[in-house]
Structures are given as structure tokens and as C-alpha cells.
């Protein structure tokens, strides 16, 4: 089987018209049958564009890994169609799909050297020896592991094994690279480093990446677009700032970053729920009537749409920020994350909690069954 080698073209403009590479249409996956069956995916539809860094984000058990395994071909959908480049993949076994996977546990072949691992896919494709040698060398240079070519996986650190797994999956120049929680086994510092590395590799190779993760920071930092999933459904698809600023549902607002979820009645939107990011909330000492934080700009320009009275319950110093928890007179708790401690506001102080016009976003209820609330 053949598929065109992805051109290495760093000058490619990401602003070009997005072209759909993968189309997931009404895909349902149930494990088991009868009354004991578990629905992992419920009629999921989404498009992944050519050349983008797409992330499936959600808590464990939301179906994101199942969707990845369906795209790779390790699982067969109970219903629906997955196509790539307009070609239906559903009946194609994994070894006939121009798709490669970076496994969470890396799954490196322990009895082969690094170079043999990386060459594996190319050899199965029957590429000429000289081409394989050159390609392996090139890909190992891409992940900065040239010096390790003759080592066994067991002789490498976790981070190096991760790079081998990446090189092995990139070597056959797949149309699509699937990454199943690739950074979860690495420590914090290495994870940060690899985030940048993955982003760089995606740009340099021009391959479409699909990342599965439960780490919202990782998703926000790396992705062009994110699909937020919960209980087998896709709740919202959009760019990182869109997802963060305009969460579509209660779950999305809560899962991505921190959110105050307040009944809409409080802010003149009866019936619904609104989400307000804690960093958009500012506090005014109830007596003084002076804004206690950086919210003054918006205050001057558009005026504060909402000001709700409350009492400060706790005050937590977070280093760069201070987090206040305020019990609103109307009942709910609200969190405010301020750059600087508000003068004269302490635990027990009566305050007015306010936010600029438009900072509150109405969010929809989640489709049933409700997702877990972290």
C-alpha cells in the first residue's frame, strides 16, 4: 500500500483554507451487548482538518481513547462512518490505514534497537533499503535521538522512549498521527518541554496530529482546535480561546479552567446558568465603593453590569494571585482571582462582587447522563 509522503514544508501557511481530512459521522461504540452493554461513544460527529493539531479532551471514561482507537482501526464502530480523505475507513484493518499511533505506554518493541523500531513501519511497507536508512536517520534527527540509534528501548529514559515512539510513528509519514495521552508518564518539567516539542514536530512535518488528553492546560497550550468530550459525547469543538472564553455547556465551563457557575436569575437571565471566570471578577469593599482590583478599566468604559453583595469567606495566597471566596447574599459562593490583594478586604469583610459587562456567559445544561464534575 502507498500513501504520499508528507512533505516537510515549514513555510506552509496555516491560514490556508482548512480542508477536511478526517470525517467522523454519527459514530457510536458500545462494548458488550444486551442490557449489560456500555455505550462508550454516542453518535459522535466531528471533522478534523488537514494539517491541524486537534485535541480530544475530557475526563477518563469520556470516550476519547475509544474514538482514537476507532480512528486507528483497533476497534470497530457499532454504527457510523469514519472516513479519511473522503475514503471510508470503516472496513479497513489498522495495517491498511495511513494512520500511525503513539501509544500511552509507548509499546516499543523490546527486542529491537531504536533504529529497528523506527524502521519497522517502513519495512512492512516494503520501502527500499536505502530509503529506509535515510528516513530513519532523518526522523531520529527530528526527535534529536541520532546518538541512540543502536540502543535498546530498555536502555533509554522515559522521555527518550517517548521520542522513539514519536519517531517510529512519524517515520512512515502517515496522513494522520494519533497520540494517546503521550505525555502522561512524564514528569512535570519534561511534559512542558515535550509540549513545545510536539508542537514543533507538528509544524515541521505538516502531519495532522490528533491528541487525546485529560489535561486541559496541555490541550489549551498545544491545540489548534479542541473537542471537549464527556460521557461519550462531544460537547463543544473550537479553538482554545473560544473554548475558554465561550464555553458552551456547564461541563465545559467547569472542566476547562475554573468557573463560577451561577443561576441566571442572579444576573437578569432567568432560567439558565451563567459561567464567570474567577479572574474576571473583582471585589469592592462594600463601604468604600471603590473597585479593589484591576477591573477599573472595564468599569470606566462599559460600567459594571452586575454587582452582588456578599461576605468574604476565605482568602488564599497563590503566589502571583490571591483567591477570594465570597458567599453572596443571594446564596451561592463565588470565587474571585485578583492580581493583588484588595486593600481593606479580609475574611469577613462585606464586599460587592462585580464583573465587566459580557464577562458572564450563558451555558447550556449538559446532555444526560450528566458528566462527572471535577
Amino acid at each position: 500500500m502507498t500513501h504520499p509522503a508528507a512533505a516537510i514544508d515549514p513555510s506552509r501557511s496555516p491560514a490556508a483554507e482548512p480542508r477536511t481530512l478526517v470525517e467522523v459521522a454519527g459514530v457510536t461504540k458500545a462494548f458488550g451487548s444486551g442490557p449489560g452493554s456500555v455505550v462508550a461513544l454516542a453518535a459522535v460527529s466531528l471533522s478534523i482538518f488537514e494539517n491541524e493539531f486537534f485535541t480530544l479532551l475530557g475526563p477518563s471514561g469520556c470516550g476519547k481513547t475509544t474514538l482514537l482507537r476507532l480512528i486507528a482501526g483497533f476497534e470497530h464502530p457499532s454504527a457510523g462512518v469514519i472516513s479519511l480523505d473522503g475514503r471510508d475507513l470503516t472496513e479497513l484493518p489498522p495495517h491498511r490505514r495511513p494512520v500511525n499511533t503513539v501509544f500511552q505506554s509507548y509499546a516499543l518493541f523490546p527486542h529491537m534497537s531504536v533504529a529497528e523500531n523506527v524502521a519497522f513501519g517502513l519495512e512492512r511497507l516494503g520501502r527500499p533499503r536505502a530509503e529506509i536508512i535515510a528516513r530513519v536517520k532523518h526522523v531520529l534527527a527530528l526527535v534529536k535521538l541520532e546518538a541512540m540509534a543502536d540502543r535498546r528501548p530498555a536502555q533509554l529514559s522515559g522521555g527518550q522512549q517517548q521520542r522513539v515512539a514519536l519517531a517510529r510513528a512519524l517515520a512512515p509519514a502517515p496522513r494522520l498521527l494519533l497520540l494517546d495521552e503521550p505525555l502522561s508518564a512524564l514528569d512535570q518539567k519534561l511534559r512542558r518541554e515535550m509540549q513545545g516539542e510536539l508542537k514543533r514536530l507538528q509544524r515541521e512535518t505538516g502531519v495532522t496530529f490528533v491528541l487525546v488528553t485529560h489535561d486541559q492546560e496541555e490541550a489549551l497550550a498545544m491545540s489548534d482546535r479542541i473537542a471537549v468530550m464527556s460521557t461519550g459525547r462531544v460537547l463543544q469543538i473550537g479553538g482554545p480561546s473560544e473554548i475558554y472564553d465561550r464555553p458552551a455547556t456547564r461541563f465545559v465551563a467547569d472542566f476547562i479552567g475554573e468557573a463560577n457557575l451561577l443561576p441566571g436569575d442572579l444576573v437578569g437571565r432567568p432560567g439558565g446558568t451563567v459561567a464567570i471566570r474567577p479572574e474576571r471578577v473583582h471585589l469592592v469593599s462594600a463601604g468604600a465603593g471603590i473597585p479593589a482590583s484591576g477591573g477599573t478599566g472595564e468599569d470606566g468604559a462599559g460600567g459594571t453590569a452586575t454587582r452582588l453583595p456578599g461576605i468574604v469567606i476565605t482568602l488564599t495566597f497563590l503566589g502571583s494571585d490571591v483567591l477570594y471566596e465570597v458567599a453572596l447574599a443571594a446564596g451561592p459562593l463565588i470565587k474571585a482571582r485578583l492580581r493583588d490583594a484588595a486593600p481593606g478586604v479580609e475574611a469577613g469583610s462585606a464586599v460587592l462582587a462585580g464583573w465587566p459587562k459580557g464577562a458572564e456567559r450563558p451555558v447550556a445544561e449538559d446532555p444526560l447522563p450528566a458528566g462527572p464534575r471535577p
Binding site: 482501526g73 483497533f74 489498522p94 495495517h95 494512520v99 500511525n100 523490546p110 527486542h111 519497522f120
Partner: protein, 293 residues
């Protein structure tokens, strides 16, 4: 290790060393010593010390005491090696798919299947081998079925052939091939097979390049566990070969029982052991050569 440390660890090693001495070294020394003695008239051994037993393995003594080359025992030896080798190959061919099938089940089913594999051990091997006589003999199960269904009118003679011996040997030793292969396959990360498929390997390529290299250690262990005892087996050749197709194990067995020639039996077992040792050393050398980076 310093001298004092050795003195201190000796008491801890003593039980293990004792077991090895009593159950391994001593019987071997006794067998070795017997092989250089002369046969007693009613079994047992007596002086003088002689190498006659080893000479007899290859030569017949003529009336005038001259030695004539005699290949009787070499033929038996060769047949034993051939049958043991065939047993091993068949055990791998049958055992590998069985072990793979077992390893792919869920935990509860796997445990049940391991138990099922060991069930034959609960019955004596002599009885189990004799059951094959009942199955294969002219009035046996197979012939009754063949005649009953009209496939044949006259019973087909299965017993007392090399094939019947082979069947008995494979039946006896197959579990010793399945279990070590299963043990290695069970530890094999299923993600490795998925990774192979993901990297454009079909079923055969995934087996050839990923499963087989990782299962080889189990196959090697199984080969030793099957080949060595099959070489010395005497129940299957006695019962299924009817004592007409002797194997080295039957030969040794005979020398210590009806033939009452203990030195010759001991010599034959020494020769067998030497052969096995050489074969194992060669195999170990080759494996070491392959593994070395």
C-alpha cells in the same frame, strides 16, 4: 568474595547444596560407577572394573573375542533422537497456537484453561498411555468408529508403529510445551501487537517480527522440557510400540529389569546424558550468540 564471607554464607547454602548432592550428584556418580563394573548374575554389579559396557554399545564380541561393529544400539539411539525431535517439533506446532489462544482470553478463562492443561497430570502416565492402546488397537475406539461408519471393513492397525509412539510422546509432553510458551505470551503486552498492526504489519508479519521473537524464550524452555524427557521415555515405546521399536529409554529400562545387565543400562544412560548435555550446551551457546548486542 572473601574467604570469611564464603564461610559465613555456607550454612545458608547448605540445604540447597545438600539437595543437589543427594538428589542429583550422588545418583549420577552411582550410575557412572556402575557403568564401569561387571554385571552380576541376578542383577546388581560386581568387580572387576571394566569398560566392557561402553564397548558393547558399539561392538559385538565374536567367539574368538574379536570385536565386530554392531549398529543395533546406535539404531535405537538414532530412533530415539528422531522421535524426540519429531515430538518437539509437533509440540511447538500444536503448543504455540494453543498457548496464544489461552493468552488472548480474559483472566478467569485463562486460569481455567491452565487448570485444564494440567488435568492429565492428575492421572498416572502409565494409565493414560494405556488408554491410547484402548483407543488405537484393532478393536479400539477409532477402528470401531471407522468400521461403524463404513469407512473401512477391516480394522486398520495403528499400534506398534513409530507413528503410534510419536502420538503417545506428543500426548505425554505437550503440556510441557504449552505452559512455558503460555507464560511468555501472557506477559507480552497486547499493545505491542497493536503497534505492529498500526505500523502496517498484517497478522503474519506481526507474528513473525513481534510475537515470535518474544515467545522464543518460552519455546526454548519448552523444547528442553519436551525433548529431554521424550528422549528417555519408555512407557510410550513399550505400550504403543509394543516393545518392538525400542527407544533408548526402553533399552535402559530393560537392562535394569529382565536383561539384568545394570552396567550396560548405566552406560547407556551415561551416553544419553552426555548427548543431552552436549546438545544443551550447543543450544545455549547459539542463543547467547543471538542475544548479544
Amino acid at each position: 568474595m572473601s574467604g570469611t564471607a564464603r564461610v559465613r554464607t555456607l550454612p545458608l547454602l547448605a540445604p540447597a547444596l545438600g539437595v543437589i548432592l543427594v538428589f542429583m550428584v550422588a545418583p549420577m556418580l552411582i550410575a557412572g560407577a556402575y557403568s564401569f563394573l561387571t554385571a552380576g548374575a541376578y542383577g546388581g554389579v560386581r568387580l572387576p572394573v571394566t569398560g566392557e559396557a561402553y564397548v558393547r554399545f558399539l561392538f559385538d564380541r565374536d567367539l574368538d573375542d574379536s570385536l565386530i561393529f554392531d549398529d543395533t544400539y546406535l539404531v535405537i539411539f538414532g530412533r530415539s533422537i528422531a522421535l524426540a525431535a519429531a515430538t518437539t517439533v509437533l509440540s511447538v506446532l500444536i503448543g504455540l497456537p494453543v498457548a496464544w489462544f489461552m493468552a488472548c482470553r480474559d483472566k478467569a478463562t485463562r486460569d481455567l484453561l491452565v487448570l485444564a492443561i494440567t488435568i492429565p497430570f492428575w492421572t498416572n502416565l502409565l494409565i493414560r498411555t494405556y488408554c491410547w492402546v484402548l483407543i488405537l488397537r484393532d478393536q479400539g475406539l477409532v477402528n470401531a468408529a471407522l468400521i461403524g461408519t463404513g469407512v473401512t471393513s477391516e480394522p486398520i492397525t495403528f499400534l506398534y508403529s513409530n507413528e503410534a509412539i510419536l502420538l503417545g510422546l506428543v500426548y505425554s509432553f505437550l503440556p510441557f510445551m504449552v505452559l512455558p510458551i503460555y507464560a511468555t505470551l501472557e506477559r507480552l503486552d497486547p499493545r505491542l501487537v497493536e503497534a505492529a498492526h498500526d505500523l502496517y504489519a498484517g497478522r503474519w508479519a506481526a507474528f513473525r517480527y513481534v510475537v515470535w521473537p518474544l515467545a522464543k524464550a518460552g519455546v526454548a524452555a519448552g523444547t528442553i522440557l519436551v525433548f529431554v524427557p521424550a528422549l528417555g521415555a519408555f512407557l510410550a515405546p513399550d505400550l504403543l510400540g509394543g516393545g518392538r521399536k525400542l527407544m533408548i529409554g526402553s533399552l535402559i529400562h530393560l537392562q535394569f529389569t529382565s536383561s539384568r545387565n545394570w552396567p550396560f543400562g548405566a552406560a547407556a544412560s551415561m551416553i544419553l546424558m552426555a548427548f543431552v548435555l552436549v546438545a544443551l550446551v550447543i543450544a545455549a551457546r547459539r542463543r547467547a550468540g543471538q542475544v548479544a548486542p
